[in-house]
């Protein structure tokens, strides 16, 4: 039925099957849209956030998806700037993932802020010292870049490419992709870092506050590194998932393994810095503001296991596995390791968002807990559903994996 829209020579499931697949996601999206509508129309009293828990599920989601979406810039950087051509087979997929993550994050941010119509004030009256300004500027520019990177993929759709002007434009745009890759890498470096700086500068929250390295707190660099570790793992994991769901080989095993290696290398560097940073924080930064660090791990479910999980279980362990060639070449090791890498980064974002806010600062204040309302969960699911839908549509109608035909036709 929609065959003429599908790239020539690749196999896609029948249309009815596809509809069956996207239907539940579309319903989830509709539910999410309703939740988001309530939040916009009625105000954020629809959420369970409050004056202490001023950030909640959404900001956590934003931080996490943006870290996961780092695959787009990192892959682009390696492919176009460092000429790692083996990544050509995943770049399209990485771009789509990046676009989903970033646009999703921005949509949620627009629901999250109380006055979305004033979002442009950040551009109009920017406080250049705020990490959030840096994030806003970079995020908007980078989303533009991602759209420009995604546009050629769309224009190469079997039907759209028949329009010569699109194809010629695509061709020329694609030739200049190296510029976008460079700009993307530059912007990503800053906003990934600024997202980390977001918490690192919180002098009033000694759990999050970190010393400056140059003009940025150390979390700036930790976020960049962890995002670079998470990005390839996310591309790897989604590719693997798509392979499983579509029952096809899409990418060469060597590429998968190479992505794993990238993750591993970045992760071990990250863990190294993170460990040093944590030690400095526990022994100097935090106590000097009057906050004994052990108190942080004294409350509710947040024990020292959090730190252990972050650094060892989801850090050192997958890093060591991924760094060993023999292990990462086997899917049974590679995939769980990628999952661990992502879990570690997600946990890091969770801890910085939720634990920071849950912990009291004043002695007589109490540890607070927070459970998102259904409207928050709905808006969250909206982004997930949007991501799945956009990816499914892209996978079906766009040529995401250049090696697909090759791998399905054994020459």
């Amino acid at each position: 039925m929609d065959k003429l829209l599908i790239t020539r020579g690749v196999q896609r499931s029948p249309f009815w099957k596809f509809i069956l697949w996207i239907l539940p996601w579309a319903m989830l999206l509709a539910w999410g849209l309703y939740g988001a509508y309530l939040c916009l129309a009625e105000g954020l009293n629809q959420t369970n956030m409050d004056n202490r828990f001023a950030f909640g599920l959404w900001i956590y989601l934003d931080l996490t998806v943006i870290a996961f979406g780092a695959g787009a810039f990192f892959t682009g950087f390696l492919l176009y700037i460092l000429k790692r051509h083996e990544l050509k087979s995943v770049i399209n997929s990485a771009v789509v993932l990046g676009l989903i993550c970033y646009s999703g994050a921005i949509v949620v941010l627009m629901v999250d802020v109380g006055q979305p119509l004033r979002a442009w004030f950040t551009f109009w009256h920017p406080n250049v010292h705020s990490m959030l300004t840096e994030v806003t500027f970079c995020l908007t520019l980078y989303l533009t870049v991602l759209i420009l990177e995604y546009a050629p993929i769309v224009m190469k759709n079997r039907q759209i490419r028949k329009v010569p002007s699109y194809l010629v434009f695509e061709f020329n745009l694609h030739k200049l992709m190296v510029v976008f890759a460079g700009v993307g890498a530059f912007l990503s470096f800053f906003h990934q870092g600024s997202l980390g700086g977001l918490y690192g500068v919180l002098r009033g929250r000694p759990f999050a506050f970190r010393e400056d390295l140059g003009i940025w707190p150390s979390t700036f660099f930790l976020f960049v590194l962890s995002a670079m570790a998470a990005g390839p793992s996310f591309v790897l994991l989604t590719t693997w998932l798509v392979e499983k769901l579509s029952k096809k080989r899409l990418v060469k095993r060597e590429t998968m393994s190479y992505l794993g290696k990238l993750s591993g290398v970045m992760l071990i560097i990250y863990i190294l810095f993170k460990s040093v940073d944590t030690l400095i924080w526990i022994n100097s930064t935090s106590p000097s503001s009057g906050f004994p660090a052990f108190e942080y791990y004294d409350r509710a479910a947040f024990g020292t296991w959090v730190l252990f999980a972050e650094v060892v279980l989801f850090g050192l362990l997958p890093a060591l596995v991924l760094l060993r060639k023999k292990l990462r070449e086997r899917m049974v090791w590679l995939i769980p390791s990628a999952v661990f890498v992502l879990a570690g980064v997600a946990l890091n974002r969770f801890v910085l968002t939720i634990q920071t806010l849950a912990l009291p600062t004043l002695v007589f204040d109490e540890f607070l807990s927070y459970m998102p309302s259904w409207q928050e969960v709905a808006t969250f699911s909206m982004v997930i559903a949007y991501g799945v839908l956009l990816y499914s549509l892209s996978f079906r109608y766009l040529h995401l994996f250049p090696q697909e035909r090759e791998l399905t036709q054994p020459y």
Binding site: Q115, L117, R118, W124
Partner: protein, 731 residues
């Protein structure tokens, strides 16, 4: 050059202008301003604009009589503050007073008479004409007068006003009129002293400046009991001021605000205050720490032959026995008694908590007893005489109906119950009033500006002007050392359709006159007395009354935030008196009060907890709270809402409820859901629950009946509701 007006030229001109404009700051500035304008949508309330003026009046929310200075826009007050140097409040106000100007906008405000229909959880109202209600009342009054079926009762929630004298006068003339006050009203405490002395001892007050030690029996002495100036003085030694204040010892079953702020808190088993009073008296007597000569000469029942005497009574309450009864340790009892005697002048205050009900007549007499032993009623004591505020003779020409507590009249006796100022005064369990009514035949009408508090239980409500819309005088506070008089003059125009209580009563009893005339007559009487001093808000200082030229001048001062204060009088010597009062079974009643018959004979059933309801006098306890009071009750934890039960951690564990969890309290009168709060400072085995109404911040679609813990009180259980037993289950 010929100027041709072609389309092309026009377009060129417009285009050029737009392009040129872009390099000027104009569009950008405009964009900037638009950004700001867009943020002022119609949904954001606009602040009023208009001339700013200042007006003075007196707060009538309680009897402290604080002077208020109102900043007004278009003559509507938008902010209240205290009048500087005012003898009652010296520039400050309590939270209720600060937000007093909001009461006119209470979401449950009534502006026309209504008939009430109570449904399951809500109340429906239907408008009726005031003539119809007045007709019904008049008919019922006539029946009560002529047929003798049931009495005509008026419950005055703000006794002591000039209009209260008018009521008592009219009720006395009616023949079957009864003048009722809340059982917690301070007037009844003075009545206890009268009973001991046998005659009217005259109004007494407290001269706190003389006091070095204050022993409070559950009275909220540091929390709205006295005027702000008095409270401030009692706390003066705190902090860095270097001033002297009084040492406050708080005897309280609850960790009340006063217990928190007092220098010493003596926790006591609920309802055992009388025993502790006797125990303290025991120590004073045993150690000879009292004026023997005075007691010997004046006390008629100190030691009597053949009859049980006060000495016998107190003799039973040895420190050990008292400790057993009250839970207060023997050493604390002895030390406290000695401290009262040694660090005098001392003052013992009964009174009790406004929401928690009266201490009880016997306990109050026991407290007066200690005061007498300590010499607090003597010429150097802290309890001083003062004269009644002068009133014209015609106010009492036809006699005054006696003041009676609600508990003092027989059950099923009231035919018509009128409740005046039902939004004010101390909270009162409806069950207590209900059993006084003739079942199914009585008519209950409230005069109230809002559909809150007791008014929710009536058949009809005639709306009265709200606070600061109404003209009223402020009676003398119990704690005041001299008589005072001030007038709360309206700062707001009262809505059409409201009537003040004098108008309503005038129509019922067919008496001419207005409230203003009444108050002016009283002012004249004060002026005629040529006594006392007058605080003038305009200058912030006081002058002798005699310096004022006329009664009108006094009226002008009083209605503009001024206050008249009587001159102090030399205390009368204590006449002959009975420690235990004059009733035939005085000894037995006192003994029962001390030994605590009501609470100890009930077996300690599992799952039963002692509920300690409490009110806040600082917030008038009554049924009117500014919508902004959500800040104290809901938006911060400063004041517990009436849906919160505070428990000791051990008790919470025993009842298997957790901090923040829900629990259900059950008595035979009903059930109530509460949120559990755990507080290590609270006495084990009790649940502290506030009885104040919830502030209503926003009007809902329907009127929800107030749910108060007082609803759970089983009325026959005890004369007071300070503590009652209820089952606590985890919800």
């Amino acid at each position: 050059m010929p100027l041709t007006l072609t389309r092309r030229n026009v377009l060129k001109f417009v285009g050029g202008s737009i392009a040129g404009m872009m390099v000027t700051p104009l569009p950008w500035k405009l964009l900037d301003d638009v950004a700001i304008w867009t943020q002022n949508g119609p949904w954001i309330p606009k602040v009023p604009r208009g001339p700013i003026t200042t007006a003075f009046s007196t707060c009538a929310l309680c009897s402290a009589g604080c002077g208020i200075q109102a900043r007004c826009v278009n003559t509507i007050p938008y902010a209240l503050s205290g009048i500087r140097n005012h003898p009652a409040n010296n520039g400050t106000l309590c939270p209720s007073g600060v937000a007093g100007h909001h009461l006119a906008y209470h979401p449950l405000r009534l502006k026309s008479p209504v008939q009430l229909f109570r449904r399951e959880e809500t109340i429906e109202v239907q408008p009726v004409s005031s003539e119809e209600i007045l007709g019904k009342i008049s008919a019922a009054v006539a029946i009560s007068r002529n047929a003798g079926e049931g009495t005509l009762a008026l419950l005055d929630q703000r006794p002591g006003r000039s209009v209260s004298l008018f009521y008592r006068n009219q009720l006395a003339m009616h023949g079957r009129g009864v003048y009722l006050v809340s059982p917690t009203d301070p007037i009844l405490i003075t009545q206890c002293l009268d009973e001991m002395v046998g005659t009217s001892f005259g109004p007494v007050g407290y001269n706190l400046e003389r006091v070095r030690t204050v022993l409070s029996f559950s009275a909220p002495v540091l929390d709205g009991w006295g005027t702000p100036v008095q409270t401030s003085k009692m706390l003066a030694h705190r902090g860095s001021s270097g001033q002297k204040g009084a040492r406050v010892i708080q005897i309280d079953s609850r960790y009340s605000r006063s217990a928190q702020l007092a220098d010493q808190w003596i926790p006591i088993k609920p309802n055992t205050e009388a025993a502790l009073a006797f125990g303290l008296a025991h120590v004073l007597l045993r150690e000879g720490l009292y004026d023997k000569a005075l007691i010997q000469s004046r006390a008629l029942d100190f030691q009597t032959k053949g009859k049980h005497s006060y000495f016998d009574l107190v003799g039973r309450f040895t420190p050990d026995h008292t400790a057993e009864c009250t839970g207060v340790s023997r050493d604390v009892i002895v030390a406290t008694a000695r401290a009262l005697a040694a660090q005098g002048p001392s003052l013992v205050i009964g009174d009790g908590d406004s929401g928690g009900g009266p201490l009880g007549r016997e306990a109050e007499m026991a407290v007066w007893g200690i005061n007498i032993l300590l010499g607090a009623l003597g010429s150097n004591g802290a309890i001083v005489h003062h004269r009644a505020v002068p009133a014209p003779k015609e106010f009492s020409a036809n006699g005054l109906s006696p003041v009676q507590g609600v508990s003092d009249i027989p059950d099923h006796s009231i035919g018509v119950l009128l409740i005046d100022a039902s939004e004010q005064g101390d909270p009162l369990p409806w069950s207590l009033l209900e059993r006084k009514l003739i079942p199914d035949q009585s008519l209950v009408v409230a005069f109230s500006p809002t559909l809150t508090g007791l008014a929710q239980h009536t058949h009809y409500i005639i709306p009265t002007p709200a606070h600061l819309e109404a003209l009223t005088d402020v009676p003398t506070m119990l704690s005041s050392a001299t008589g005072t008089f001030s007038v709360s003059s309206p700062l707001l125009r009262r809505p059409e359709g409201t009537m003040d209580a004098r108008e309503i009563m005038g129509k019922i009893f067919e008496v001419e006159g207005t409230l203003e005339e009444l108050l002016k007559q009283r002012t004249s009487a004060i002026f005629e007395s040529r006594r006392g001093r007058v605080f003038k808000a305009s200058t912030g200082s006081s002058v002798q009354l005699t310096e004022l030229g006329s009664s009108d001048e006094l009226w002008a001062e009083l209605t503009a935030g001024g206050m008249w204060m009587d001159d102090p009088v030399r205390s009368k010597p204590l006449p002959e008196f009975h420690f235990m009062g004059r009733s035939p079974a005085a000894y037995e009643r006192m003994l029962d009060a001390g030994e605590g018959i009501s609470s100890s004979n009930e077996p300690d059933a599992p799952r039963k907890i002692t509920v300690l309801p409490y009110g806040r006098r600082a917030e008038v306890g009554g049924a009117q709270l500014s919508p902004l009071m959500t800040k104290l009750y809901q938006e911060s934890g400063l004041h517990r809402s009436s849906k919160v039960a505070v428990l000791n951690p051990a008790t919470a564990k025993e009842f298997n409820v957790a901090n923040g969890g829900r629990g259900t309290l059950v008595t035979e009168r009903g059930t109530q859901e509460v949120t559990i709060r755990v507080d290590g400072a609270v006495m084990p085995g009790v649940a502290e629950i506030a009885v104040s109404p919830e502030p209503v911040g926003q009007a809902g679609t329907e009127i929800v009946q107030e749910q108060d813990i007082l609803e759970l009180i089983v009325p026959d259980q005890a004369p007071t509701w300070r503590a009652f037993r209820a089952t606590l289950q985890k919800a």
